[in-house]
């Protein structure tokens, strides 16, 4: 009984004590949390097309004072920088901030007008309660600086210099880099309006996937091309054709197309052209009736794989398209275009193909046979095996996230270790000039992206096509095809990638990457419309001229332009069917 009384009196006391302890503990916990806590301001910086803006500096003016500055008259130092997706996070330690009365966020970035965002009463109250804020998207407006014009004119000048052959491509691109970085570092010190981008940002634009894939394939092709396989294939076509020119051209077009798809169209044409000229002379037909169809087929065939053309390498890397993506989504369309091209060529050259030349002497036939033999059979066997494995890796590697650049490097190393274990040979087959061209080109294209030229082009195309995907495909494919005939298609494609990327994100239904495939078709097939449209055309013309057969601009245009229209029309049709 007495125990019950004690318990009855003690229990409330214990409960009261417990409650008091709990309250005290809870309170102390809250205090502790408040003392160590920080609130965050998160947001996203976009341009007026809704595209994320990377590298915008975010600073804060708190209660009328620049936050983090040493003195009140100093500008507020940046607290955060927007990331690739445009997002930023500003962390505010509570003990440094204290009670917030007014908060202004300042967002600045070169080539954009600075933006200020002021927190309202509600937001300030939430911050004072310790709540973090998710801010509305901050839209920055572009500002055309002097740097904009320097970068734009430099890019245009590079295109002109390359088109007019006034400078080597690599030299032109390097000159562009020098102008852009020189303007940034020398001019930028004089006026902030001359700033384009710093060296660190410039390097961020270099796509090393492309560099390593190009370098790897360079070594692989460099080893294969000295085996005589191209010349052997050309000679076998001659033998198979049995003197029928129409059959010969059909086989040669097929071979150049496949070789261009798997290796490279410039290499293919460089090695096929001398042999083709000899075959044509042996058959008594004009070499141009074989060479022009070959180069047209080469330019079309190269599009069917990721590694077939540099433009596809650029597109694949930027858009994340795999070897299989090109194989399944583009190759059937390319095959259709190839069939149509062959029919066109047979009709176009029907008279030349009916001409029968005189008999070739035994001595000349022997020379032809000698030119068309495999020069290094043992090397070809090894190189062929490695290349076969590489193709398998290109196709199957996707399953284990093996990127094409790594496959190319693996293949290149295998070639060098097993087929050509010679450091001198290794250095000989890597064309550093080409790699420098790509690196410089990435930087120059990065500069026009940075200053907003790409954004302007995107805006113009966006307004033209609206949200109509069909219209977007038509405009992109045909404008790429036409422009590729007059300007170098590699710089053009590199510049168009961010434009197409933006359109892909904004146009409904374009998320299947159809516009990237359209760019591939337009930029590569468009090269057939003029002699300067593709490197393969120029090297073919160069060799033909040295054999006394000049391919004039007009002659090439007369044959190439209809070929371009036919193949691009079929390519466009394929895109509509497939996507």
């Amino acid at each position: 009984m007495k125990q019950n009384v004690i318990l009855r009196r003690l229990l409330p006391a214990l409960l009261s004590l417990g409650l008091a302890l709990a309250l005290w503990y809870g309170l102390s916990l809250t205090v502790a949390y408040t003392e160590g806590r920080q609130v965050s301001l998160t947001g996203r910086v976009i341009d007026r097309h809704g595209e994320p803006v990377r590298g915008a500096k975010v600073s804060l003016v708190l209660n009328g004072h620049p936050f983090g500055a040493g003195a009140a008259n100093e500008p507020a130092p940046p607290l955060a920088e927007s990331q690739r997706d445009g997002t930023f996070v500003v962390d505010l330690p509570a003990e440094e901030v204290g009670a917030i009365e007014a908060l202004v966020l300042e967002i600045s970035r070169p080539h954009f007008k600075s933006l200020q965002w002021e927190a309202g009463d509600d937001e300030i109250a939430r911050l004072n309660r310790g709540e973090s804020l998710r801010l509305p998207d901050m839209e920055l407006s572009r500002r055309m600086t002097v740097g904009f014009w320097v970068a734009t004119l430099t890019f245009v000048a590079i295109l002109v210099l390359i088109a007019l052959e006034k400078l080597h491509n690599t030299m032109a691109a390097l000159l562009g880099v020098a102008i852009i970085l020189g303007t940034t570092f020398v001019g930028g010190a004089v006026s902030p309006d001359l700033f384009i981008f710093d060296f660190e940002r410039a390097l961020e634009y270099v796509d090393f996937n492309v560099i390593f894939l190009v370098m790897g394939m360079m070594i692989v092709i460099g080893v294969i091309e000295e085996t005589g396989i191209f010349q052997w294939l050309a000679y076998q076509s001659y033998r198979l054709s049995g003197g029928r020119a129409w059959l010969l051209v059909t086989i040669l077009m097929l071979i150049t197309s496949v070789a261009s798809a798997l290796l490279d169209n410039v290499t293919t044409m460089l090695l096929m052209t001398p042999m083709t000229i000899q075959i044509a002379l042996a058959m008594g037909i004009t070499p141009l009736s074989l060479l022009i169809p070959e180069v047209l087929a080469s330019n079309v065939g190269g599009i069917s794989t990721l590694i077939g053309t540099p433009t596809n390498i650029l597109i694949g890397s930027y858009a994340g398209l795999s070897f299989n993506d090109f194989l399944t989504k583009l190759t059937p369309g390319v095959l259709l275009a190839q069939v149509a091209l062959t029919v066109y060529v047979l009709i176009r050259y029907r008279k030349q193909f009916l001409v029968r030349g005189g008999e070739l002497s035994e001595a000349l036939l022997n020379r032809l046979r000698e030119s068309g033999r495999i020069t290094r059979p043992a090397k070809l066997r090894k190189a062929g095996l490695i290349f076969g494995v590489m193709l398998l890796l290109f196709i199957l590697g996707e399953r284990v996230h093996l990127v094409p650049a790594v496959t190319a490097i693996l293949g290149a190393v295998a070639m060098l270790l097993w087929v050509t274990p010679d450091i001198e040979s290794m250095l000989k087959v890597v064309d550093w000039t080409t790699l420098m061209f790509f690196i410089s080109l990435f930087i120059v294209v990065g500069s026009i992206q940075e200053v907003g030229l790409i954004s302007i082009i995107t805006g113009v195309i966006g307004r033209l096509v609206g949200s109509n995907l069909t219209m977007a495909i038509l405009v992109l494919v045909w404008s790429a095809a036409i422009l590729s005939g007059v300007i170098a298609n590699i710089p053009f494609t590199a510049a168009m990638l961010p434009v197409v990327g933006s359109l892909t994100r904004t146009i409904p239904g374009a998320s299947n990457q159809v516009l990237f495939y359209g760019l591939s078709i337009g930029s590569a097939m468009g090269g057939n419309s003029s002699l300067i449209g593709a490197s393969a055309n120029l090297v073919t013309a160069g060799i033909a001229e040295r054999a006394g057969y000049r391919i004039t601009y007009v002659e090439f245009f007369k044959i190439g332009m209809p070929a371009m229209i036919i193949t691009v029309a079929i390519g466009t049709l394929w895109l509509f069917i497939r996507f």
């Binding site: 052959e165 080597h168 491509n169 690599t170 190009v214 360079m218 092709i221 460099g222 091309e225 000295e226 010349q231 490279d264 410039v266 290499t267 460089l270 090695l271 001398p274 042999m275 000229i277 000899q278 002379l281 540099p310 002497s361 001595a363 000349l364 020379r367 032809l368 000698e370 030119s371 000989k428 087959v429 890597v430 064309d431 000039t433 080409t434 061209f437 170098a488 590699i490 490197s535 120029l538 090297v539 013309a541 160069g542 060799i543 001229e545 040295r546 054999a547 006394g548 057969y549 000049r550 004039t552 002659e555």
Partner: protein, 141 residues
């Protein structure tokens, strides 16, 4: 006996020059040499990786084929002709070949339409240059 050097490439336009050189050699009883110059300067027009050594080898084979055709052409007309193949710039190599071979005459093809690399005026100027530098007589036929 003199020595005639005929710079040639191939193609229909070259056949006319070759025939003229063959006729001149027969008429003067001179030795005839055809010259082909392997020039890979056109590789500068590509930004793509190429192996100049492999391309040069292919151009040599093509050049020898074209020279052999010219040789056969001469043979059919009763003239025994030889040939030489050089590498580099056509103009410089032609002058060097005249000096090296002690050629007494040089035959150049007259420009004919689109197939020609040179205009007649520049070819005449080039001929005068060869004559001044080497002492060989130049025929533009």
């Amino acid at each position: 006996m003199g020595k005639i050097l005929c710079a040639t490439r191939g193609g229909e336009a070259s056949y006319r020059t070759q025939d003229a050189a063959i006729a001149l050699a027969r008429e003067r009883g001179d030795e005839l040499l055809f010259l082909y110059v392997v020039d890979i300067a056109f590789l500068n027009k590509t930004e793509r990786a190429v192996r100049p050594d492999v391309v040069t080898a292919e151009m040599e084979k093509m050049g020898e084929f074209l020279l052999a055709m010219a040789q056969e052409r001469a043979q059919k007309q009763g003239v025994v002709a030889g040939y030489i193949l050089r590498h580099g710039d056509l103009g410089e190599e032609l002058k060097a070949a005249v000096r090296d071979q002690h050629a007494t005459a040089v035959v150049l093809g007259k420009p004919a339409g689109d197939e020609s690399v040179f205009a007649l005026e520049s070819l005449q100027a080039f001929a005068a240059e060869i004559e001044a530098e080497t002492g060989g007589q130049v025929y533009i036929l």
